[in-house]
């Protein structure tokens, strides 16, 4: 026996074992290398599916008649079907073709099933999603729904389309992310669509303000809390026109903070991200770069506005919409055109997983949404029969059975990571918090989605028909703007708004032991905030308080965003009685800012008064730099950064009372409209900086020191003013993150025209912003221009993956193709054609 051969064989066996092991098994975050590197079936195959074939065929088992799909050169599928049922099936098919991973990831996130893909790292976020009852309610809603209802039927048709794509999918069609994670796609079902809708509800309407408010009260007292986080905004530029030619300022003197010992951070819910905040603001699960994303900025939201023919240059109604959401690759939106003769001819964007167009237009109307931000979630303090493993809760002096549900969290290999028991009262899920046992009632949990309403909107031919279709819309509450070809414009905050007992206040945690605390019903439709064809000739919403409390003092919500964007768009529209669609598009990235218009003079006047007392070279220079600013957030602007830095310092100093002793973070930050209120009261105790116990500061001192300190810091960081380091584009970026948070698959450090409070807002980590921009002119011919940050394809090496990023950064909109017939599309504008037939799948 040759010892050489023994050694060689031993080495070969070890090597064979090792290569086979890494070939077949995961190693940490690495997928099994064998199937991953396999050029025929692994990730390399993804390159082969980067671009669509010029012609292809697919089959859907239950299709009624063949469906023709033509992709234009922007990657938008135009679906021509004989029936709506077939169109919805085809929609599921084409969306899955481009965005399969995104669909499943979103549905899994809402279902609290990310651990099955990501293991224990996702356990906390999964627990949070399940604890607030999202999957529980989705399953209950579906189980209780009429199987012939529109929402269930559409979900089923959509799933048939998705699953037909899955049935015939080749290895090259399996998205990169599945291969990277070494997971297989699951069959789609109706529940996933409901979960996706509820996920949007979570993003837009999950507000824990009531619980946080209790903590704030411990710091500054009830009276000050009510003033700093008011039910009514001190600056009124409401969505429902108030028949004024300018905004109304309702400045009131703020009561001082209550004299009390500030509690330790352990006793206060700190502002640091809670699981809920983190999940909402981050891409679903950034894997390798968790710090690459940030929390939801307080100044972002959405805009929409419409101009009636009387104020448009063309004499046609104009409509603009730009919902602001997470900026992700692929985008949250997918653009599509669906035509069913004599039934529907709609163009717009859908959310992958939802069987319908959410925002868009047809031949007669156009519509868009902003988040209403209404308070649709309440907490109730409950009494249970025992602390551990409770079975009953007290209601009106009697014990009632708690509903229970076992939640099992599975790991990557199907192992059980955790088992939780959820409890619910008749109001909703129980939360065991540091504030006691609370039950939660939330409109988002009560209905399975509003897909049926969206379908009705798609085929509406007038403003009135659109509003009628939307009467059944439930949650999350949206402010819906609509315009039609006849020249009508309308807006309405739509959704279910609870009627509460007593004074209707939704800011308190109510007594759960009494049924008298329960909601009494929902607002009647005719009381929803809104307007139709107002005399001012335009309508606008930007997440501001919908109705001026002088017109209606009915409680709808609290702590409304400061209406900087609403002030700006109303100013632009008031001053232009001949609006063009080009100007509408320009407004979406308008560099002006109402916040700067209000605060810059305050800084400069304070500096002027201080300089009158004696020379201060640094202050003089800082004030000079600020005074030269045109108050515009253009990319090359070198002064905006000073103002934003000064505002940041100012905010820190003024609201130091909201920082618990020993903690470096505020419990909450009042809106900037409250700061604006404070400007009117130069000696308010809120100006006093707690860190300087021996001195009592006034307004001017805080304004001046904020400006000087910001100026000093910027000079230290970026050199002399007017250097390139001061350019806005070098200080403020947008970051469009890949869904898994990989920087290599993201579009990072994008320059942005806009800042906090701009119509094109950018704040925090720059991971939120205008997720879709649309301008529609409703003339004899519907003319629409759109864009979004990303591209139609979810394939990371497709030319359509991120091809729209540059135009989005530049504020450029593209005219859409809106052909009446497939033949109307110029061959040069066609990218690909797909024919869907009934039967088993075949492709190419």
């Amino acid at each position: 026996m040759s010892s050489y051969r023994v050694i060689r064989l031993t080495f070969a066996l070890i090597m064979l074992g090792a290569t086979s092991y890494v070939g077949a098994r995961r190693m940490g975050q690495l997928p099994p290398l064998g199937s991953f590197l396999d050029p025929a079936h692994g990730i390399w195959a993804v390159a082969r599916a980067a671009e669509m074939p010029s012609e292809s065929q697919g089959e859907i088992d239950v299709l009624g008649e063949s469906v023709r799909v033509v992709y234009d050169r922007r990657g938008v599928p135009h679906i021509w079907a004989a029936t709506t049922d077939d169109a919805v099936r085809a929609l599921g098919y084409v969306v899955a073709r481009d965005r399969l991973f995104q669909m499943e990831l979103q549905a899994r996130a809402a279902a609290g099933r990310l651990t099955e893909w990501f293991g224990e790292r996702a356990l906390e976020v999964d627990r949070q999603q399940r604890s607030i009852g999202l999957p529980w309610s989705a399953e209950s809603n579906l189980a209780q729904a009429d199987t012939n209802s529109e929402a269930v039927r559409l979900g089923r048709l959509y799933a048939e389309g998705v699953n037909s794509w899955l049935d015939g999918m080749r290895s090259s069609d399996l998205p990169f992310e599945y291969k990277l994670l070494d997971v297989e796609p699951e069959l789609w079902n109706e529940l996933n669509g409901i979960l996706t809708f509820k996920r949007m509800g979570y993003t837009l309407a999950y507000d824990t303000h009531d619980r946080r408010r209790t903590q704030i009260e411990r710091l500054i007292g009830r009276e000050a809390t009510d003033a700093l986080f008011p039910i009514n905004s001190p600056i009124q530029e409401p969505i429902q026109p108030a028949r004024r030619s300018e905004p109304r300022f309702d400045y009131q003197t703020l009561p001082p903070p209550a004299e009390r010992e500030r509690e330790s951070p352990n006793e206060v819910v700190a502002r640091a991200p809670t699981p809920s905040n983190t999940l909402r603001s981050l891409p679903p699960l950034p894997l390798l770069q968790p710090s690459a994303s940030g929390r939801l900025g307080s100044e972002v939201g959405s805009n929409n506005w419409a101009v009636s023919p009387s104020r448009s240059a063309s004499g046609n109604a104009l409509l603009s919409g730009d919902p602001h959401l997470n900026l992700t690759l692929p985008s949250i939106w997918y653009e599509v055109h669906i035509k069913v003769p004599d039934e529907v001819d709609v163009y717009g964007v859908t959310i992958p997983g939802i069987p319908g167009v959410v925002i868009g237009f047809n031949r007669d109307i156009a519509w868009s949404f902003t988040n209403t931000g209404a308070d649709v979630l309440d907490y109730y303090r409950e009494t249970l029969d025992r602390d551990a493993a409770p079975t009953r809760y007290m209601l009106d002096g009697e014990w009632r059975e708690l509903d229970q549900r076992i939640e099992i969290f599975e790991g990557i290999d199907g192992d059980t990571l955790a088992v939780d028991t959820l409890y619910a009262t008749h109001r909703g899920p129980l939360l065991f918090s540091d504030q006691g046992v609370l039950s939660m009632r939330w409109t988002v949990l009560e209905e399975m989605g509003s897909v049926g309403a969206l379908t009705g909107a798609a085929s509406a031919t007038s403003v009135a028909e659109f509003q009628e279709a939307m009467e059944t819309y439930y949650a999350p509450a949206q402010t819906m703007i609509v315009a039609d070809r006849a020249g009508n414009i309308a807006i309405r905050s739509t959704g279910r708004f609870p009627i509460r007992p007593d004074n209707g206040d939704g800011t308190v945690i109510r007594d759960g032991t009494s049924s008298a605390s329960d909601w009494l019903g929902y607002w009647p439709l005719d009381e929803y905030p809104g307007a139709i064809n107002p005399s001012q000739g335009y309508l606008a919403s930007a997440n501001q308080q919908p109705v001026d409390p002088l017109a209606s003092d009915r409680y709808l919500g609290v702590n409304w965003p400061t209406p900087w964007r609403a002030l700006r768009i109303n100013e632009l529209l008031r001053n232009n009685s001949s609006v063009t669609q080009e100007e509408m598009a320009g407004y979406q990235t308008d560099p002006g800012n109402a916040k700067a218009d209000l605060f810059v003079p305050a800084f400069l006047e304070a500096a002027e008064r201080a300089l009158a007392f004696g020379p201060d070279e640094l202050l003089a220079e800082a004030a000079h730099v600020l005074s030269e600013w045109d108050r515009r957030y253009t990319k090359g602007n070198r002064h905006a950064v000073l103002f934003e830095s000064a505002m940041h310092v100012l905010t820190d100093r003024v609201w130091d009372e909201l920082v618990p002793r020993g903690s470096g973070q505020r419990v909450a930050t009042p809106g900037q409209s409250i700061l604006a209120t404070l400007l009117r009261d130069p000696d308010s105790p809120w100006w006093d900086h707690a860190a300087t116990a021996e001195v009592v500061e006034t307004r001017d001192e805080i304004l001046v020191t904020s400006l000087v300190d910001a100026f000093e810091q910027l000079t230290e960081d970026h050199g002399v003013p007017d250097g390139d380091g001061w350019k806005w584009e070098n200080n403020r970026h947008n970051n469009v993150m890949h869904l898994l948070g990989f920087p290599a698959l993201s579009a990072l450090d994008l320059p942005v025209q806009g800042g906090p409070g701009n119509l094109n807002p950018s704040s925090g980590q720059g991971t939120h912003g205008a997720s879709w921009r649309m301008v529609v002119e409703l003339g004899d011919r519907v003319y629409a221009r759109v864009t979004y940050p990303g591209g139609q394809s979810g394939n990371l090496v497709s030319s359509l993956y991120d091809n729209r990023i540059r135009q989005w950064v530049d504020g450029v909109l593209e005219e859409v193709f809106f052909p009446t017939n497939p033949e109307d599309l110029d061959p040069e504008d066609m990218l690909s054609a797909l024919v869907l037939e009934r039967g088993g799948y075949r492709d190419e």
């Binding site: 064979l16 390399w44 290599a744």
Partner: protein
């Protein structure tokens, strides 16, 4: 290298590509093991199998690059793993080579045993 050996190399590359296409990455060690067991002429069958496996996967990569942006895919995947692009591409070639060589040695040993005369590597 005689003509037979050259022909072997030319044919074995596509054979490994075909094996991968048909049965996935496990086709590489299976074919290499068989080749190590079968070959009676080549005195370095494991080495030939290893090189051929690398060539086979390279052929498939080249074919894929005709139909899609392979280099961009390599760049982005390498960036995710935080390794140089060339290292990721090299891994794609070295992985089947390692599999094939070790499986080839096993195949040779199965046929010839440890004490019998067999080709070297």
């Amino acid at each position: 290298m005689n003509r037979w050996k050259l022909l072997q190399l030319i044919l074995m590359g596509p054979a490994f590509a075909a094996a991968t296409f048909l049965v996935g990455w496990l086709g590489v060690p299976l074919l290499a093991c068989f080749w190590g067991w079968y070959d009676r002429i080549e005195n370095r069958p494991a080495l030939v199998g290893s090189v051929s496996a690398g060539i086979g996967w390279l052929i498939m990569l080249l074919w894929t690059s005709v139909n899609g942006p392979v280099l961009l895919l390599a760049q982005r995947t390498a960036a995710i793993w935080q390794v140089p692009t060339i290292a990721f591409l090299a891994l794609t070639i070295l992985f089947p080579m390692g599999l094939a060589w070790s499986a080839g040695i096993v195949g040779m040993t199965l046929r010839h045993g440890l004490s019998a005369r067999a080709g070297s590597n």
